[in-house]
């Protein structure tokens, strides 16, 4: 399958994350599943006029291609005469990137949003959203975006949202591979258009801090080992992603790195409504409860588990390194 990758209003981090793909040489892995990069801003030889001519041929339909990947939010502003001009991002002098993306999306067999910006607007849409940034098919949580809620590609798929800020390199590669192999159906995507293979997990799954969570033994400062939910704003129990099951850069994850999950795979993560690294509480109870957990149960269980916290867990939670190891049990006397 022939693939075109465009960078709209983002930071290029999705590409850079992707280049760190660890399960083999990326370009060969793509070739294996039959993906050919027609144009990619960081990897292609064709530049300037040559690149524009190539993309123009694709947009006119003269040169067929299959997959359009868009990285970065679509910038609709500034508005001129009540129309979105897209002038905050012009690509090669003439047209806005917004126009290029719209034209190419109409010719593509599949449209893939790479990263939370292209999926939902992402960080560029934060604050007062000065550039009127939106995603391809979502404007935050709301369906819509620049392609509209009813967009379907010729095979019946909506925009495939490989969200994340940035997405894990495996999420991108595996989505493209499934697409190339014809294994991605509308049922493979969740209600935000995210591939279920990574979006049907929670970041909380497999977090090395789970034992601290069980006993509500929270870290008080960065660098400490306890759960980051109670005091430091961790949203791992509400974030759809498999970050702690599928590690980042070989050995990492946000939580393994010692800082909280900010739910970067979710629409509107950029505006949590409170400072990122604090946990808003009402009467001492965190307001952002785990997905699927009834509040009364959470409160009851938290009180119970707190009273049962082993000293080891309590002490380690606020230390930068293990102070007490689990005790060794001998079965033979």
């Amino acid at each position: 399958m022939k693939l075109i990758w465009l960078q709209s209003g983002g930071c290029g981090g999705c590409t850079l994350s992707w280049l760190g793909y660890a399960h083999g040489p990326l370009l060969e892995v793509l070739a294996e599943v039959g993906i050919e990069l027609v144009w990619h801003p960081s990897l292609s030889a064709a530049s300037c006029d040559e690149a524009l001519a190539l993309l123009e041929a694709c947009a006119r339909g003269a040169k067929p291609f299959d997959i359009l990947c868009v990285e970065g939010a679509l910038l609709r502003g500034p508005w001129l005469d009540q129309l979105p001009s897209g002038n905050f991002h012009r690509f090669g002098g003439g047209e806005s990137m917004l126009d290029w993306v719209l034209r190419l999306a109409m010719r593509a067999r599949h449209v893939v949003a790479i990263g939370s910006c292209a999926a939902f607007g992402g960080i560029t849409a934060a604050g007062g959203n000065p550039t009127d940034a939106a995603g391809l098919q979502h404007d935050g949580e709301i369906g819509g975006g620049v392609l509209g809620p009813y967009f379907r590609d010729p095979t019946g798929l909506p925009v495939i949202n490989v969200s994340g800020c940035p997405p894990h390199p495996d999420w991108i590669t595996e989505t493209l591979a499934l697409l190339a192999q014809g294994r991605l159906t509308p049922e493979s995507l969740d209600e935000f258009g995210r591939p279920r293979f990574f979006a049907e997990r929670l970041v909380h799954h497999g977090c090395p801090r789970n034992e601290y969570y069980e006993f509500k033994a929270g870290a008080e400062h960065f660098g400490q080992q306890g759960c980051l939910m109670e005091n430091l704003g961790c949203k791992g129990t509400q974030a759809h992603a498999d970050c702690n099951l599928r590690l980042w850069n070989g050995e990492g994850s946000c939580l393994r790195g010692g800082f909280p999950c900010i739910r970067c795979t979710e629409p509107e993560f950029e505006e949590p409504g409170h400072p990122f690294h604090t946990t808003p509480k009402v009467a001492g109870i965190p307001i952002g409860l785990p997905a699927d957990m009834p509040k009364a149960w959470f409160v009851a269980l938290a009180a119970l588990s707190k009273s049962a916290t082993p000293p080891r867990v309590k002490e380690n939670a606020t230390a930068e390194r293990l102070r007490r190891a689990p005790s060794v049990k001998r079965t033979k006397k």
């Binding site: 960078q7 209003g9 930071c11 290029g12 981090g13 999705c14 994350s17 280049l19 760190g20 793909y21 660890a22 040489p25 990326l26 370009l27 060969e28 990069l37 801003p41 960081s42 990897l43 292609s44 030889a45 530049s47 300037c48 006029d49 040559e50 690149a51 910038l75 500034p78 905050f88 991002h89 012009r90 690509f91 090669g92 002098g93 990137m97 960080i123 934060a126 604050g127 007062g128 000065p130 550039t131 800020c165 940035p166 400062h221 660098g223 970050c243 980042w248 850069n249 070989g250 050995e251 990492g252 939580l255 393994r256 790195g257 010692g258 800082f259 970067c264 400072p275 990122f276 930068e320």
Partner: protein, 482 residues
């Protein structure tokens, strides 16, 4: 006179377009346009100060740690604290690994593929360049990508996740390392060193770092034929990349990698025609006369500036502002760092052949030889019992500024906290200096000057020299405009 709009440039980070005025087959004037605006400085206003650490890395995917580190420093400055030794070392490592990975991406994936352009097809070296450095197909590029992926695993350990980590904080880093993990990091750095010594240099790093002038470089070159650096030097001689693309600007470095006792691995300062002077941040101004923003009459101090986009402003042609130091145009990057630090090979080459494309790329490659041994030294210096991260409480009203050297040079953040919220946030990135538009005095920025005089026909293909000059700066346009 003909006007040509050249762009979109690819194999640079972000979006770039250049307008060339051509007279008699040469560039008479160049106007550099950053055509993407996102508004980070506006977005940050009103946020909680520590939220800057979530937003600023997302300015840029290629040097997100540099943005984090500058924000962390601005916040630390505002809080009046400094990280403990372990935190300082881990922050150094995190930033240095990103910077080196960036140099690698630049050389192998962005810069060298231009020599495989069709116009060089007749050259004796063409077949080898295409096989090794051709975009996507080149062996060297593929090997570099694999080496980079392995090297970035160090980021998993040090920073949890790259890009866009939150591990670098004003009080240190959030990831205490155990001794067994330090061992793993040492393994990763050793593998990277082995790649550089085998593929890039064909020599031990110490040999390269020890070259003290052109004579020593020539002697080293004749000893062997191996290594991509020798190949680059060969191309630089044949195509005279040395005199190509000189900017005539001052060179600025804010100093890189904190060492024990407040020193830097690479000293801060400015360099102009062989003279090194201290860097004085109070001399920085941003001029908005040719940038698409509502502007005051005079150039602003970053701590007083506001960013208000104005797309249709008459006379404006870029979203990039024009930073000046004491009214002067500056060039920043690896070449500036090495000149200011007094690295003898770079000083000698620039003295003899000028500060052009060749010197820029050579200085960048030289940093591998100078920084990797420092990484190994820092890894040995951790104190397993020491602290990693201290708290950084902020006053309701305070000011802070933070400077770091990103791969491409001087990066500055200016933060104002007003009633517990961000009142103002201004960022000047390396490429903002290098690709600055004209200021009110009409004098062009560094790249705008470096392009003048290049042979460009009035029609037809834009020659590769334009690409060499543009990419020798390793532009990062998303940082430039943010």
């Amino acid at each position: 006179m003909t006007r040509r709009i050249v762009g979109p440039f690819n194999r640079v980070e972000g979006d770039l377009e250049v307008t060339l005025e051509i007279e008699g087959g040469r560039v008479a004037a160049a106007f550099v346009n950053a055509p993407l605006y996102r508004g980070f400085e506006q977005i940050l206003e009103g946020k909680a100060p520590l939220d800057a650490l979530v937003f600023v890395p997302r300015i840029c995917g290629i040097c997100s740690v540099a943005q984090s580190a500058a924000a962390a420093r601005a916040l630390a400055d505002a809080a009046g604290i400094a990280p403990p030794s372990n935190g300082r070392l881990a922050a150094n490592l995190t930033l240095a690994i990103e910077n080196l990975a960036d140099h690698l991406t630049h050389f192998y994936l962005f810069f060298m593929p231009d020599f495989a352009a069709a116009e060089y097809a007749g050259a004796s070296w063409y077949a080898e360049v295409s096989a090794q450095f051709g975009a996507q197909s080149g062996q060297a590029g593929r090997q570099a990508l694999a080496a980079r992926a392995r090297f970035m695993q160090a980021m998993g350990l040090l920073a949890g996740k790259w890009p866009h980590t939150l591990a670098v904080q004003p009080g240190g880093t959030t990831r205490p390392l155990a001794e067994s993990e330090l061992f793993r990091l040492q393994r990763i750095v050793r593998e990277f060193r082995a790649f550089l010594e085998a593929r890039l240099f064909g020599s031990p790093l110490e040999t390269i770092a020890g070259l003290d002038g052109q004579t020593a470089l020539e002697r080293w070159r004749r000893q062997d034929r191996a290594g991509d650096l020798r190949f680059f030097l060969e191309l630089a001689d044949r195509l005279d990349l040395w005199s190509l693309g000189q900017s005539g600007a001052r060179f600025l470095s804010v100093g890189a990698y904190d060492e024990e006792g407040g020193k830097c691995l690479f000293a801060p300062g400015t360099w102009y025609e062989g003279r090194v002077l201290p860097f004085d941040p109070s001399q920085v101004r941003e001029d908005l006369s040719h940038a698409r923003y509502a502007s005051a009459q005079t150039a602003q101090r970053p701590e007083e500036e506001r960013t208000v986009p104005l797309y249709d402003k008459p006379g404006a042609y870029s979203w990039c502002k024009a930073p000046r130091l004491g009214g002067e145009i500056c060039e920043t990057g690896a070449l500036a760092r090495q000149l200011v630090d007094g690295q003898p090979l770079v000083g000698d080459i620039v003295g003899r052949r000028g500060a052009g494309v060749g010197a820029r790329v050579l200085a960048r490659l030289l940093e591998f030889a100078r920084v990797v041994p420092a990484l190994q030294r820092w890894l040995d210096a951790f104190d397993p019992e020491g602290a990693w991260c201290t708290a950084a409480p902020l006053a309701e009203n305070c000011l802070g500024k933070g400077f770091v050297e990103a791969a491409r040079g001087a990066l500055g953040h200016w933060l104002t906290v007003h009633q517990g919220r961000i009142g103002g946030y201004q960022i000047i990135a390396p490429t903002t200096w290098n690709f600055s538009p004209r200021a009110a005095d009409g004098r062009p920025g560094a790249l705008e000057q470096a392009l003048v005089g290049l042979p460009v026909p009035e029609q037809g293909r834009v020659p590769a020299v334009v690409h060499h000059v543009v990419r020798s700066f390793d532009p990062c346009m998303v940082c430039t405009v943010h």
